[in-house]
């Protein structure tokens, strides 16, 4: 059977020399769940828009459940469910009305549409809210309705575009539980985009790390972390130290790899972090650039991101937000 998603070499430019995608390729098998992890502005949402037929790529090919998104968008639309960043539910209608209309748009008959709506209301714990207007819903309730709307026609591929952005911790935990339950369904493939490291770590069995419009690393969260071989050693100075003596001091130490100096912070890897620390501190002292703080940690996805993108995730995320804000209004309506 065809893959749930096969995208190859996707390129998308927006007016004003904004290259949103720069040759992005991903594959998602039947019934799998893939997380696209990347900072704001990395190209995750553009990827979702192309795969859901909302945007045409400038180059590259993409197929969803075997249907080409450019040549057969009508077929793609029948097999996908989309939960986008912005709700999309009609605030003036009730939850049930939204669901019934959604079922109708896929050609479902009246009685069946109502049955399906009730089924989903029950499954997502919306029974109490079913007859209230959506504008009275809390953020978490509204999000659960959005997911229900995406599942009305029993899609084969579900797109979850930043499903927990803006939710409070409690609503977020309950959404995670829903997504984990969906991931257990073997007939449903899920593409999840997120800029939360913990969310990607917890939900996605496979991850593609996206940076500046392309996939920079791919694998299971554990494999990605395992590739880093060893512990992360983080050092911090009161102010940005001179680079040359720091590099010279650390370069002499055996077993210390992947040294990345980023302002007053430094990250490196060591097979045994705790054992490496005394030597590191001594070497820096001798070189006249003593560190103010040191921590040793098991590798995290943040370290994975740093390794492949060359910067910390939080920094990239803030920078991405600034880029996104500077993007022309032409793309503004879509975000």
């Amino acid at each position: 059977m065809a893959h749930a998603i096969e995208a190859d070499g996707l390129v998308k430019n927006y007016p004003g020399d904004v290259r949103a995608l720069d040759g992005l390729s991903i594959t998602l098998g039947q019934g799998e769940i893939l997380g696209l992890l990347g900072p704001n502005g990395a190209g995750k949402s553009t990827t979702v828009k192309i795969l859901t037929t909302l945007v045409r790529p400038d180059a590259g090919t993409a197929a969803v459940a075997g249907h080409d998104v450019l040549r057969r968008p009508d077929r793609v639309r029948r097999v996908i469910g989309v939960v986008s960043q912005r709700s999309g539910a009609d605030p003036e209608a009730t939850g049930r009305e939204n669901l019934v209309l959604q079922a109708r748009l896929y050609g479902t008959g009246g009685a069946q549409a109502r049955r399906r709506a009730d089924e989903l209301l029950e499954r997502f714990g919306l029974g109490e809210a079913a007859s209230r207007k959506v504008k009275t819903y809390s953020g978490g309730t509204r999000r659960r309705l959005d997911v229900a709307l995406g599942l009305v026609h029993r899609p084969r591929v579900l797109f979850l575009d930043e499903p927990t952005t803006g939710l409070d911790p409690e609503a977020r935990a309950s959404m995670w539980a829903e997504i984990a339950a969906l991931a257990g369904d073997e007939a449903l493939a899920i593409l999840l985009t997120t800029h939360y490291l913990d969310e990607a770590d917890r939900l996605a069995r496979r991850l593609a790390i996206v940076d500046r419009g392309g996939v920079v690393a791919e694998g299971t969260p554990d494999a990605l972390k395992g590739e880093l071989r060893g512990d992360a050693v983080h050092l911090e100075w009161g102010e940005t130290p001179e680079e040359a003596p720091v590099r010279a001091a650390l370069g002499r130490l055996p077993g210390l790899r992947d040294v990345v100096l980023d302002g007053p912070r430094l990250s490196a890897r060591a097979d045994d972090g705790a054992a490496a620390v005394p030597a590191v501190l001594a070497a820096l002292d001798q070189a006249g650039v003593p560190a103010a703080a040191v921590t040793v940690a098991r590798p995290s996805l943040d370290d994975v991101y740093l390794r492949y993108a060359g910067r910390r995730f939080a920094q990239a995320d803030t920078a991405g937000t600034a880029d996104a804000a500077a993007e022309p209004a032409a793309t503004g309506g879509a975000r």
Binding site: D90, A93, G107, G333
Partner: protein
């Protein structure tokens, strides 16, 4: 074809449910034409005495003018609803379903047409209560209402197109405020064309608002000149069809450009 009809039906159903749930808007927006009817009716009362005006009472002449002006004003804000849908993400939710793009445009047209027809009928009834006469009412009033719907569709579809392409509320408001008065005063809404300065008469003849007015007034006359009715209604109908096409195209273009 059945998919198009079903899609149009469900999208229209959604819009009309919202309208029925919140009818206050439709009623409140009638305040403006009622004020026009009263103000213009009083202010210009004696212009019928001008030689060559050719109407018995100014109110008789004014009612079609207010009906059409109201249709222009009401529908030129249709783009605001489209912007709401874009900002909420509702439009994208529909665009990723199999629903036809033309069903989205059609639903807008049908909703606007029904609201416009309802308001036109209310204005005609108020005019009648105020003493206006409609000699050729049986055929004339339906044609006047139809003309108001057609000019309404033209404005609504242009407004929707603008919303989809420019995606900015202020642009729509500014254009509407700027265009409403010239569009209506450079037409036969309040003054017989024969009494206008020459240049204005030429502009008015090419103004679709005048086509709607002239079709409606000709049909309302004692002894209607059906040739004149058809001559004005035909280009109006063609223009309305063209603007619907433009709106469908702009839904597709929106999809490509976002």
């Amino acid at each position: 074809m059945t998919a198009l009809i079903a899609g149009t039906w469900w999208m229209t159903h959604r819009r009309l449910s919202a309208l029925v749930r919140n009818p206050a808007m439709l009623i409140m927006s009638l305040a403006q034409p009622v004020i026009w009817l009263f103000l213009f009716g009083q202010l210009f009362k004696r212009v019928v005495e001008l030689p060559g005006f050719g109407a018995g009472s100014y109110l008789d002449y004014l009612v079609p003018g207010v009906v059409i002006m109201n249709a222009v004003s009401l529908n030129s804000f249709a783009g605001m609803a489209t912007l709401d849908e874009i900002e909420r993400g509702t439009l994208n939710r529909f665009l990723v379903t199999p629903v036809r793009r033309s069903a989205l445009a059609n639903a807008g047209v049908i909703e606007q047409a029904l609201s416009t027809a309802f308001q036109s009928l209310v204005i005609i009834a108020l005019g009648w209560a105020g003493g206006a006469h409609y000699p050729g009412a049986a055929a004339g009033l339906p044609i006047l209402v139809a003309a108001s719907v057609l000019i309404g569709v033209v404005l609504a579809e242009l407004s929707t197109t603008l919303a989809l392409l420019v995606r900015d509320r202020n642009t729509i408001i500014m254009l509407n405020v700027m265009l409403l008065l010239p569009l209506t005063f450079l037409s036969s809404a309040f003054m017989a064309k024969g009494l206008m300065p020459g240049w204005m008469r030429h502009v008015a003849s090419g103004n679709p608002v005048s086509w709607a007015l002239d079709a409606g007034r000709a049909a309302l006359a004692d002894d209607p000149d059906w040739g004149a009715v058809a001559g004005h209604a035909a280009p109006l109908l063609a223009l309305a069809a063209a603007t619907v096409g433009l709106a469908v195209f702009s839904f597709r273009s929106y999809q490509r450009s976002q």
